[in-house]
Structure formats: structure tokens, C-alpha cells
Subunit: 213 residues, 2 copies
């Protein structure tokens, strides 16, 4: 693996495990048995590493958050969206834990995040509209605008909710707790589902459920 | 007004307007034409001011977020909850803008917030159960657990969503934008409403709606 890539992967791991604030470039270099000078040859500072990790998160979400062309949405698409959303949350959980802080330190990143967030809400709206068009969600009861914004807020706020309200001090996040965030998004759609979609979605709900405390 | 109270009110105003990070105890003292020494006589540091403001926010929310005893919930109660929620958000918006940071700086506050947040989710659950019992929400479609957690996340995440995703850099929050947060909470209940409740809730939705961008 190239040095640049090793630095990115080690940084992501340490940020996720210890929180971005607790990890310096010196920690990252020491973790890799590398001189700080070698690290600085690849990245000017921690901000640049964070920006690069954000770009990967962004690319990952942009890649899955869209409607397939030329065919109707299916329940299989729906479950793929949920699983991708879970992986995005889990793989880059440090980003969402302390987003305001990261954006406060970097105006360019803040600008980029704003555009990304708007694009995601637009993407989510198109997906909900697709689920209405496919007859999976009830067209009279479903408001894709409301669902898109609420789902985005629930997803992006979930890590921070767990950290401030659910975990005891010092406790680490578990994948099961993040899956519960996906459950909360999916559960809001329950009253909107067509009768045919209910059995499959009930199974999905079971698969993502886990107790909160 | 007593000096202690003047300090608290000025701090709240400056934190809300400029963000807590941008405001030091010296700024607060200067704003009040007061010597820093006089301010320190009343509050050891900024953290103590924040903790006191949080205690007021907490008391305000604890005061309204409960089910009336001995009678069924009504739509009037519902609209009072929403209006109180809006005022809590608006009056203490600095707290919710950068919550992780505030809690990161103060372990005691973090512990207190965790208990508060759990209490609020419990309170919201009891209110949603009350709305089901009163026949305002459909008992088969409504899951008070899901609604309680989602509403709490939407409310507490709304300020941060506006700041990271909606406002352009340097733009200030408006009350209308915070009212839209209440709209998002109310709108998720639309498919669950009894036919009798719909006309009144449609009016409420109109009253809280405002464009996002």
C-alpha cells in the first residue's frame, strides 16, 4: 500500500476510535512508525487529511444515493439504500460525531458540506418520489419533501445523538447502535407503506432493530 | 435587575447572536460596561455561565414536556407543546448549535444533558401515547417509541442542520427557520392522524411552514 493511503487509513481508524480532536498528526505518524516529516510530505496538516476523508465519504454517498434510470424502484433497492447508509455512517462515524467543530475549522469544507447536504436531501427526495411512483409508498399520505429532510437529519444526527444521550461517558459506539439509526429512518415510513410492501419491510425493521440503552 | 441576572441575560444574547465560541467573559463584561473582576465575582468562568443557562433551558423544557393529569390530551395541548418547543429552540439556540463542543468541555454538563435527553424522550413518548389514547393519532399505525426518538432528534438537530446545510456562511438564523423545524416534527404525524384531527393540524402545519432556502 502506498504511504499516502496508509496515512489515510490509519487516520480514519484513529479518528473513529478516539475522536478526531484527540488525535494529532504526531499520533498518526507514531501509529505508523513513521517520522512526522514523512507524514507532512504527504499532508500539510490534519485538516488536509480530514478533507480527503470527507471527499471519500462524499463520493461513497453520492454513488448510492440516486434513483436507477429507466426502471421503477423496488424493495431490493430500498434495502440496498439502507445498507449503504449504514456503512457510510459506520465507516466515517468520526465525521458525524462532531461535524460543527470540523466545519468551523475549515471554511472550504463547510462550503463543500453545505452543497453535499443539499444534494443528499435532493437525492433522498427523488428516492421517496420513486417509492411513491412504484406504489411502495402511499401517494396521498407521503410527502417526499418532509421525508427527505427528516431522513437526512435522522441519519446525520444519529451518531451525535448516541454520543450525547445514549452512551455513558467513555463507552464506544457499536455497529448495532448505528443500525438502530437506520431502523428509526425506516420506521417513519411504516404508516405510508402499501399492504404488499409491509411483510418485507417488517423483516427489514427486525434486522435493523436493537435496544437503545 | 441584579448583576448576576444581567450577566446571564447578556451572555445568552451574545452567545445566541455570535456563537458561544466567539464570546469570552471579557466580551460579556465589556458589553455590560462592567470590570472583568466584577463578572468573576459572580461566575468563576464561562462554563459556569453556560451551565446556569442550560439549567434554565432544562427547567423550561421539563416544565412543558409532560402529560396533563386526570384528563385526555387535546389538539390545544398539541399546539401548546409545539409553541413551547419553538420557544425553547429559539431562546437557547446557541446550546443546540454546538452541543458536542459544550458537552466535551464539561463532564458534569454532559452527564446532566444525558439524563435530560433521556427524560425528554420519555416525556415525548408519554405525550404520543396520550395522543393515541385520545384518538388523535391512529393506534395501530403509531409507534410512540419511534416518534419520541425521532421528534427529539429532529428538534435538537434542527439548529445544527440549519447552520451546516441551509444558511450561507455568516448568515444569521431567523425565527421562521426554527419554526420550520417544528413543522418537520408535526408533518411526520400527518399519516397517523384521525380524520377529525386533520383540519386543525393542517392549519398548524400552515402556521409553522416556511421555505428552507
Amino acid at each position: 500500500m502506498k504511504t499516502r493511503e496508509r496515512i489515510l487509513q490509519a487516520s480514519l481508524q484513529l479518528f473513529n476510535e478516539q475522536g478526531e480532536r484527540a488525535v494529532t498528526t504526531n499520533h498518526i505518524a507514531a501509529h505508523l512508525d513513521m517520522s512526522p516529516g514523512n507524514l507532512y510530505y504527504h499532508f500539510r496538516n490534519k485538516q488536509q487529511i480530514i478533507a480527503e476523508l470527507f471527499a471519500r465519504y462524499e463520493a461513497q454517498v453520492d454513488d448510492y444515493l440516486r434513483v436507477p434510470e429507466g426502471r421503477a424502484l423496488t424493495l431490493t433497492d430500498k434495502s440496498a439504500y439502507l445498507e449503504s447508509a449504514f456503512h457510510g455512517l459506520w465507516d466515517y462515524r468520526f465525521l458525524l460525531r462532531d461535524l460543527e467543530h470540523l466545519l468551523d475549522c475549515d471554511d472550504q469544507l463547510a462550503e463543500r458540506y453545505r452543497a453535499f447536504s443539499r444534494r443528499c436531501v435532493d437525492g433522498a427526495r427523488a428516492i421517496y418520489q420513486g417509492l411513491v411512483d412504484a406504489g411502495i409508498l402511499h401517494h396521498e399520505l407521503t410527502d417526499p419533501d418532509v421525508l427527505a429532510v427528516n431522513s437526512w437529519l435522522l441519519m446525520t444526527g444519529w451518531v451525535s445523538y448516541l454520543c450525547t444521550s445514549v452512551l455513558e461517558s467513555g463507552q464506544a459506539l457499536t455497529p448495532e447502535q448505528l443500525r438502530r439509526g437506520v431502523y428509526q429512518v425506516l420506521a417513519q415510513e411504516w404508516p405510508l407503506l402499501s399492504d404488499e410492501a409491509r411483510p418485507a419491510v417488517a423483516e427489514l425493521l427486525k434486522a435493523y432493530h436493537s435496544p437503545l440503552r
